[in-house]
């Protein structure tokens, strides 16, 4: 499933670019993320607990940042597996200035979901993914 969106962050491009690649910030902002541990260059092992309404599930996976092109773009790969299924996403993230102290972040992503969540949650995947991304950026803006 394709996802695109644009958010405005209250920081200049350099700051925004750095922050978006900062594991400490990412840990706080990825919804449900419990830990990110460095396992290679720009690659982290992730533990995540998803909780949405009654749905809950533990996921283990990876976050990988590739194709760095500071301060204007990079690609984020996220994958997680759990008993209720797996999620695999890739997002091309591009930044452009919007005024002096703000940056417009655009993502173009592809999310693949498998297992039980894919089989029974098709009507929810779209809405939920969008909400997760929104939560991510909302939190991110606050912390920046």
């Amino acid at each position: 499933m394709k996802l695109t969106g644009t958010y405005s962050l209250p920081a200049n491009m350099e700051r925004a670019y750095e922050a978006l690649r900062d594991p400490a910030l990412l840990t706080q902002c990825i919804p449900g993320c419990e830990s990110l541990d460095l396992i290679g260059p720009d690659e982290y092992a992730m533990k995540m607990k998803m909780a949405l309404a009654a749905v809950s599930g533990q996921f283990e996976g990876k976050v990988k940042l590739t194709e760095p092109n500071p301060p204007s773009s990079f690609v984020m790969l996220v994958e997680g597996q759990g008993k209720i299924g797996f999620v695999k996403g890739s997002g091309a993230i591009s930044l452009k200035p919007s005024g002096d102290a703000a940056t417009e972040v655009t993502y173009e992503g592809d999310v693949n979901v498998g297992g039980t969540i894919a089989a029974v949650g098709s009507r929810l995947i779209d809405t939920t993914s969008k909400m997760m991304i929104k939560r991510f950026f909302d939190k991110f803006s606050t912390l920046l």
């Binding site: 299924g85 797996f86 498998g114 894919a118 089989a119 029974v120 098709s122 009507r123």
Partner: protein, 782 residues
């Protein structure tokens, strides 16, 4: 065509026959009181429960499996993985085609998974809750691979290879031709082309599959209880898979909660439970969840077809070319590759043109295998021809009824040889169409339609005239024998048990066969019971599918009774000290003296055997295996009136009229039931149902939450009636009706909606006709 040597027929009925009457079913009392026994109702002493871990990926390599935690979980008895069962024979494919590629189908995945739902490991525990818990404790390291779920994408260069050994994803190509289609097209005055699809469907029997396997260590015998349509074939094939001698393997099909073809198969789990029971020396039960049912039991249809029809300007059809792309799924189940070949046989529909050229490309995809689902190949073909004929009529500005009537063979042309090598047994194809037109008052409707259109209303009428291949079938034309068996036992007290090799599961043969036996033996119906579904009780049989229960199982029973009557009469003559007796109304009568003895007296004498008729043996039983000389070909016409809401895409079915000709009718009540149920499944395909895989080969319509089978509120009132053209193929004159409703329905509905939308320039719509699709078509967008 084979000829059968039949025993002499004694026609000895004086009372009003039960055959032909609306008799309520004899199987119902146990079903309506909840006392019937389905597989999940079985409880054997010491029975264990199995749960299966399945692939969440459409394609992946299995790098490692860790069963340690699951094995140690309290209550877990055993955990088996692919390595444990690698020597069990593959899940069998019974179809053979030239050059067919057959992947080795292990009962548990080895180092790779090929579809979401692919079984990987089985947990056996003392309780089904524990077994399920332990499944979650198995750790698997997968390496996800690219997967492909769409057959046309699978054929494109560079597509992921479902089976690495065959990178083109092509399991087979198949060609069949009759006449000279190229010439017909070269000379055609008009040619119409259309891509027509028949989407993937999920059979959705209300009872999912289930297996209980038991093994007796002492005598090394195995019993498998399975919700199956084919107990004997299952016995043979699972026996071969497990190396279990067939005479030490009993298969029981208890009450079966619907099949529709999905239980006309041999599944990995049937052999797996046998394997587990034998390994542990304990009975074990596995009941499929609905989720598993959707991801591992066969799907149906899955066609992308390219149609071209050639005709003269006067509407005479001269030729047809069709390319069928069949989505096979990841493996061949029992009949997978054979299903589209049935489509090819049925391509000409009811029309008499003699030039056909067909090609099938069978494509592997990372999905559940497709196989026989209600109609199996024939609905696809009927949908195609009935759509393209409507499009031809539109192109020629001809009336769709008229073009059909023009192209039917005349009644005197029967038996009619088709361009695809079939011989249609009997028919008057105009008869049901004219009757259906009369019921809807066709001309009046067309006038009203003109008026309605002037007011901007979108009203349509759709016709389908279908024929189908039924009564499967002559043995040379079927993979595993097309005959059927019957045995008739008369007890010493005169009570009769009829055993049939067909394995009905809702069709009602427990009633119709009792009607037939009671009539033929001249005894009360309450003196007859019908046994089925247990290989320990009944002679080898083929099973129930392909509208064959009554049309092939019925004649087998009929002939077994005729044979038995000869014996009854001999004992009657012995008891009456007569040279010859007549058998009338359950009694042997000496025509000279008028003295008589009852069936019970004859049977008693045959078992006591104090004295035997010359050359006769004791006992009162007869067994008959009947080989049909040909298929039977029912036909009919369905007409659907619809009104479409242009703004919302909603289809309102105003009337549903069907006139089916299934030959003679044993029980009209049950025939109506078959038609209604068939129409519901056809309507499901036409309007709602669709197995949807995403680009990653995930089944996203993976539960009843997203796969819409018709509910009561979605069904129109079906006005069902009949014409009767007996089949000459069997002594009962029956043709088969199990699949008729399904086959007739979908093209009639789609034709009706296309007709409704035709003022807006709509020429074709693929199924399912969702509201959004209609809205887009009606508003010129796509």
């Amino acid at each position: 065509m084979a000829t059968t040597t039949a025993p002499p027929i004694t026609r000895t009925k004086t009372r009003e026959p039960l055959v032909g009457k609306r008799i309520r079913r004899r199987e119902d009392p146990r079903l309506i009181t909840g006392t019937a026994t389905y597989v999940d109702d079985l409880k054997l002493p010491g029975m264990h429960h199995a749960a299966i871990l399945r692939s969440p990926y459409g394609a992946a390599r299995i790098k490692s499996i860790d069963i340690a935690a699951a094995s140690k979980h309290p209550g877990v008895v055993a955990v088996y993985t692919g390595a444990d069962v690698k020597d069990v024979g593959p899940v069998p494919c019974g179809a053979s085609l030239p050059g067919l590629r057959v992947p080795h189908h292990h009962i548990l995945a080895q180092d790779r998974v090929y579809f979401v739902g692919h079984p990987i490991a089985v947990v056996v525990a003392t309780d089904r809750y524990i077994a399920r818990d332990a499944v979650d404790l198995i750790e698997i390291d997968f390496e996800p691979l690219d997967a492909v779920a769409d057959p046309e994408k699978a054929l494109a260069p560079g597509a992921p290879a479902v089976h690495p050994e065959w990178p083109d994803n092509t399991a087979f190509t198949y060609h069949q031709a009759g006449g000279d289609a190229d010439k017909a097209f070269a000379e055609a005055e008009v040619v119409v082309k259309q891509r027509i699809t028949s989407q993937r469907l999920i059979p959705t029997a209300m009872e999912t599959r289930g297996v209980v396997a038991d093994y007796n260590i002492g005598d090394q015998s195995m019993t498998i209880y399975s919700s199956t349509q084919i107990p004997h074939l299952l016995r043979t094939l699972v026996g071969l898979m497990l190396g279990q001698p067939e005479n030490k393997l009993r298969v029981v099909a208890p009450e079966v909660g619907g099949g529709f073809g999905s239980k006309l198969n041999v599944y990995a789990e049937e052999a797996l439970m046998g394997f587990v029971a034998r390994k542990l020396g304990k009975p074990v039960k596995w009941i499929e969840s609905r989720r598993e049912n959707y991801t591992t039991t066969i799907h149906g249809r899955g066609h992308v077809d390219y149609y071209e029809i050639a005709a003269k300007k006067d509407g005479t059809i001269t030729g047809l070319k069709v390319k069928i792309i069949q989505d096979l799924g990841s493996y061949h189940q029992l009949l997978t590759p054979a299903i589209p070949t049935l489509s090819v046989l049925m391509l000409p529909g009811l029309y008499k043109f003699q030039n056909v050229k067909a090609e099938i490309v069978g494509v592997f995809t990372n999905t559940v295998p497709t196989d026989a689902y209600r109609g199996a190949g024939r609905p696809e073909a009927t949908h195609g021809i009935e759509r393209i004929v409507d499009m031809l009529a539109a192109e020629l500005k001809m009336d769709p009824a008229e073009i059909r009537l023009k192209n039917f063979p005349a009644p005197e042309e029967f038996p009619f040889n088709t361009a695809t090598g079939l011989q249609y047994d009997s028919g008057d194809y105009a008869l049901p169409l004219r009757k259906a037109m009369e019921i809807v008052d066709y001309m009046k409707f067309r006038r009203e339609q003109d008026e309605a259109r002037k007011q901007g209303k979108l009203v349509g009428l759709g016709i389908s005239t279908y024929g189908e291949i039924c009564a499967f079938g002559p043995s040379p034309a079927t993979p595993a024998g097309g005959w059927e068996s019957a045995q008739v036992d008369v007890d010493p007290t005169g009570k009769v048990t009829v055993y049939t090799g067909s394995c009905h599961h809702g069709q009602g043969e427990e009633t119709t066969f009792a009607q037939l036996a009671a009539d033929e033996l001249g005894i009360p119906i309450d003196d007859v019971i019908v046994g089925r579904g247990d290989t320990a009780k009944i002679p080898y049989g083929i099973g129930t599918f392909g509208s064959r229960g009554t049309a092939v199982g019925g004649p087998a029973l009929y002939y077994a009774i005729q044979q038995l009557k000869e014996k009854i009469k001999k004992f009657g003559a012995l008891l009456l000290k007569a040279n010859e007796v007549e058998y009338v109304d359950g009694q042997c009568i000496d025509p000279n003296t008028g003295k008589s003895v009852t069936l019970a007296q004859c049977a008693g004498a045959a078992y006591r055997a104090m004295k035997l008729p010359p050359g006769e043996t004791p006992g009162m039983t007869a067994t008959y295996f009947w080989e049909p000389p040909n298929f039977a070909f029912p036909f009919g016409a369905h007409i659907v009136l619809t009104e479409v809401d242009k703004e919302t895409g909603r289809i309102d079915i105003k009337r549903y009229v069907c006139v089916d000709d299934c030959g003679n009718i044993l029980n009209p009540l049950l025939v109506d039931g078959q038609v209604h149920g068939g129409v519901a499944q056809g309507l499901g395909q036409a309007m709602y149902e669709q197995a949807v895989y995403d680009d990653n080969a995930q089944l996203v319509s993976g539960e009843l939450m997203d796969y819409a089978i018709p509910k009561a509120t979605m069904m129109p009132w079906v006005e069902s009636s009949h014409t009767i053209t007996p089949s000459p193929v069997n002594p009962l004159g029956v043709k088969g009706v199990g699949e008729a409703g399904t086959i007739g329905c979908s093209p009639a509905l789609v034709n009706s909606v296309v007709d409704a939308l035709s003022p807006l320039g709509v020429k074709h719509l693929d199924m399912p006709l969702t509201a959004e699709k209609i809205w887009r078509a009606a508003n010129g967008a796509n």
